[in-house]
Symmetry: C2
Subunit: 208 residues, 2 copies
DNA sequence: TGGTTTTTGTGATTTTTTTCACAAAACACC
DNA sequence: GGTGTTTTGTGAAAAAAATCACAAAAACCA
């Protein structure tokens, strides 16, 4: 199966739209509705679904419940997903306190930092010394981590994790990571996201 | 000119790579080096540059200083960029305290919230009541905003801003916004980014 | 100075992604 | 049960993005 990040993102958006539709009482949905909801073409919706063997009913569209179940399964939304945070700065802390994770069964199990002032083994999400990172990962079979350290530390932290067997990383530090083949990395660069908007706003202005 | 978000993202990555190269003392760079740095093809690099009229020297590559200047101009990195934050929760607060913004000349000028407990007109970044949002935008000619409110408030906040003349938005709330033509919106969904990694980690596991 | 090498810039080609378009299935209504 | 309408699922077509490939310019060297 050949799935791109774009495709996965769309599936996520469908799910989001479905959620809204469900809460407003709908029972079934057509590819057309979903397409409109996310600003795409209805064939796109059907193609995306067919990639994952999700099928509807000719003339009847898709059952919202059934469809959401299938998407939930796809995203493993049914099982608790353990994750750790490395770097307890602004972003790290914000993620640790992020309310909606619980609802989506994302569980931040522990956090790590180099600053002894931040250590706190008794907290709801314990903050542990960086020295324990590798042991923690192997011992607790952690597969996923969030990197939220300053840019100069990011690669080093990543290499540690990677060596300890991490399989997926969301990197919030403002540098792209050099990554081995067998670890999936998703770079989320807040500065870049702001600069992109800035760029397009300016570009639009110039056109007018 | 036909520029996509992907293209802009690559330009940003080049800039990042150039920064590293400059600090390690390099003076010039070839399309090949940049391609390797971001995992792309060297023609891609040259195509991207040519789109923006950035040219190098046959056999001599590109001067790092000159190139960075051109990219900085492209991203308006030379002038202070004012922005406001709406929603002083975990994420909003984290962004307000984000150190590297200053270095990149991104200035968060004010923040807004509905919770009176959070108001603070004297703070370095004043936190103002939501009622003042529209006036503030028009009065101070704010062009860009960050939305960091809970999902149920996001669209409403956006519509307010949009009506007040905002031109670009980075939306950190976990819902995609319905947006008018003349406002550029960049959705950054933290949950989605985590779920994407989760998906691909699982997908990789299944393949083995 | 003339030949050799290197690297850009860009048309041509390939690959990927999106959209079109239509047959086949399902339902509704008479 | 037949006829008409709606919507899926998917090959075919179009559009967009990435890669190839090569002429032309520049630097080097002898």
């Amino acid at each position: 199966m050949k799935t791109t990040k774009n495709c996965i993102t769309r599936l996520y958006q469908y799910r989001e739209a479905l959620y809204r539709m469900k809460t407003s009482g709908c029972q079934k949905v057509f590819s057309n509705d979903l397409a409109e909801a996310i600003g795409a073409n209805s064939s796109q919706v059907r193609k995306d679904f067919s990639l994952f063997g999700i099928s509807g009913n000719k003339r009847g569209g898709y059952g919202i419940h059934e469809l959401m179940d299938q998407l939930d399964t796809l995203f493993n939304k049914n099982q608790m997903r353990k994750i750790i945070v490395v770097g307890v700065g602004n972003i790290g802390r914000a993620l640790m306190n992020y309310e909606s994770f619980a609802r989506e069964l994302i569980l931040i199990e522990a956090a790590f930092d180099i600053d002894p002032m931040k250590y706190d083994r008794e907290a709801l999400i314990p903050v542990l010394p960086m020295e324990e990172l590798q042991d923690y990962i192997t011992h607790n079979k952690i597969k996923m981590a969030i990197i939220a350290v300053p840019y100069f530390a990011a690669q080093q932290v990543f290499d540690l994790m990677s060596a300890a067997g991490i399989r997926g990383v969301v990197n919030f530090s403002p540098v792209s990571l050099k990554t081995p083949e067998d670890v999936f990395v998703n770079n989320v660069n807040v500065q870049l996201e702001i600069d992109i908007v800035h760029y397009f706003v300016n570009a639009l202005d110039k056109k007018e």
